[in-house]
C-alpha cells in the first residue's frame, strides 16, 4: 500500500517535469528476440548494435541502455527515448541446460549465476519504465505464466504496453494465437532478425507514446 502510494507520488511529480526522456523498456521471456529487436532499432537510427545475441538462452544478463535514441515517423514527428533492453525473465535457471548447449561446467555455472541476477534486475527495473514492448516468441506458447505475469505487472503499474510477436518469419509462428492470448492489447507481428514489419512497429510506438 505504502509502495503504491510512493509510486503514485513519484509518477505525479515526474509528470510535472515533462522534459524527462521517456524510458522504453524491452521485456519478455528468454530467447524471444529482445536484443535482436533492440539491435534492429539501434541499427536503423544510430547505425550500431546494443548487445550480442545468441541461440543459447540468457545471452543478455545485464540491463543495457541506449540513451536519447531519436526516431522519426512517416509524417515527420520525432520521438526521443532511452531504450532499455532487459534480460529475459524466467522462473527456472538450470546450469545443466547450458551444459547441454555445449558450454563447459565453469562457464555454464557462471552464466546461470549471472542469469539469476539478470532476472532480478529486470524485475526491479519495471517501476522505472514509461512504455514497454513485451517481446514474445510467436513460435512458442503465448499462455506461459511469465508472459502473463510481465503483462499483468505492467498493467498494475499503468504502464502502456505493446505486445510484439517476434519471429513471424518462421513457419511455426502463430500471430493469431498470440493475439487470442492477449485480446485487450495491441499485438504486432514482426521479424526483428529480417526487419519485417518493423516500420509498423515504429508507427505504433508514436501512438503508444501519445506523440
Amino acid at each position: 500500500m505504502i509502495s503504491r502510494f510512493t509510486t503514485w507520488i513519484s509518477k505525479l511529480f515526474s509528470n510535472f517535469s515533462q522534459k524527462k526522456t521517456m524510458k522504453l523498456g524491452i521485456y519478455g521471456p528468454p530467447n524471444s528476440g529482445k536484443t535482436t529487436l533492440a539491435n534492429k532499432i539501434c541499427q536503423d537510427w544510430l547505425g550500431q548494435n546494443l548487445g550480442s545475441v545468441s541461440p543459447i538462452a540468457h545471452e543478455t544478463r545485464e540491463v543495457q541502455i541506449k540513451e536519447s535514441l531519436s526516431i522519426k515517423s512517416k509524417d515527420g514527428r520525432e520521438l526521443v527515448f532511452n531504450l532499455v533492453d532487459t534480460p529475459g525473465i524466467a522462473t527456472r535457471i538450470d546450469f545443466e541446460d547450458f551444459l547441454k548447449a555445449g558450454m563447459s561446467e565453469g562457464k555454464a555455472k557462471k552464466r546461470a549465476r549471472e542469469a539469476t541476477k539478470g532476472v532480478i534486475d529486470a524485475i526491479k527495473w519495471l517501476d522505472e519504465m514509461d512504455t514497454v514492448l513485451v517481446v514474445l516468441d510467436a513460435t512458442s506458447d503465448p499462455y506461459s505464466q511469465v508472459n502473463i505475469t510481465i503483462i499483468g505487472n505492467l498493467a498494475a503499474r499503468n504502464i502502456p504496453v505493446l505486445v510484439v510477436a517476434n519471429k513471424t518469419d518462421l513457419r511455426k509462428s502463430n500471430l493469431k494465437k498470440v493475439q487470442a492470448a492477449f485480446p485487450q492489447y495491441e499485438v504486432i507481428g514482426i521479424s526483428a532478425k529480417y526487419g519485417k514489419n518493423v516500420d509498423e512497429l515504429y508507427e505504433t510506438l508514436f501512438k503508444l507514446a501519445n506523440r
Binding site: T91, R92, V119, Y143, Q145, T149, N153, A156
Partner: protein, 128 residues
C-alpha cells in the same frame, strides 16, 4: 513419487507479501507441488520470481508457475460478468495457483481450456 500440497487461501491470507512468498516457496523447495487456493497479487507474482532467483542453488533450480484466473478464461460476456462479480466478492480467493519445483515439474502447458503439467523424476544423490 510426486507430492501435491494443497494450501487453502486462509493459510496465507493474514501473511505479508514476502511471508506468503516464503510460505509457498518453502514447500516448493521441499520438492512438493503446491496447489494454492486462489491467486497471489500481480506484484507478488513478480516478487515470487525475484525471490526464486535469489534462492537458486545446486539443489533448487527454480519453479514452474501457472495461475488459473476464471475471469480470464471466461469466453462470453455473460460468464465474464459472472466471474467479475464473483471476483469482487471472493477477491484473490478465486482461481488456482500451481507452483512446482523445477526439479519435479518439467513444464506446465496452459491454454484457456486446459492445463497440462509434465513431471520428471527427481534425481537423488546416493548417500555413502
Amino acid at each position: 513419487m510426486v507430492t501435491l500440497h494443497f494450501v487453502p487461501y486462509t493459510d496465507i491470507e493474514a501473511l505479508s507479501s514476502i511471508g506468503r512468498i516464503r510460505h509457498l516457496l518453502n514447500f516448493a523447495k521441499q520438492n512438493k507441488i503446491v496447489l494454492l487456493q486462489g491467486r497471489l497479487r500481480k506484484e507478488e507474482e513478480a516478487e515470487l520470481i525475484k525471490v526464486t532467483m535469489e534462492e537458486i542453488n545446486k539443489e533448487f533450480r527454480g519453479i514452474e508457475l501457472a495461475v488459473i484466473n476464471p475471469t480470464q478464461t471466461a469466453e462470453d460476456t455473460l460468464s465474464k460478468l459472472k466471474y467479475d462479480f464473483l471476483g469482487m466478492i471472493l477477491g484473490d480467493r478465486s482461481g488456482l495457483t500451481i507452483i512446482g519445483p523445477a526439479s519435479v515439474v518439467k513444464a506446465i502447458s496452459k491454454d484457456p481450456h486446459k492445463i497440462e503439467l509434465y513431471t520428471q523424476e527427481v534425481k537423488r544423490k546416493r548417500r555413502r
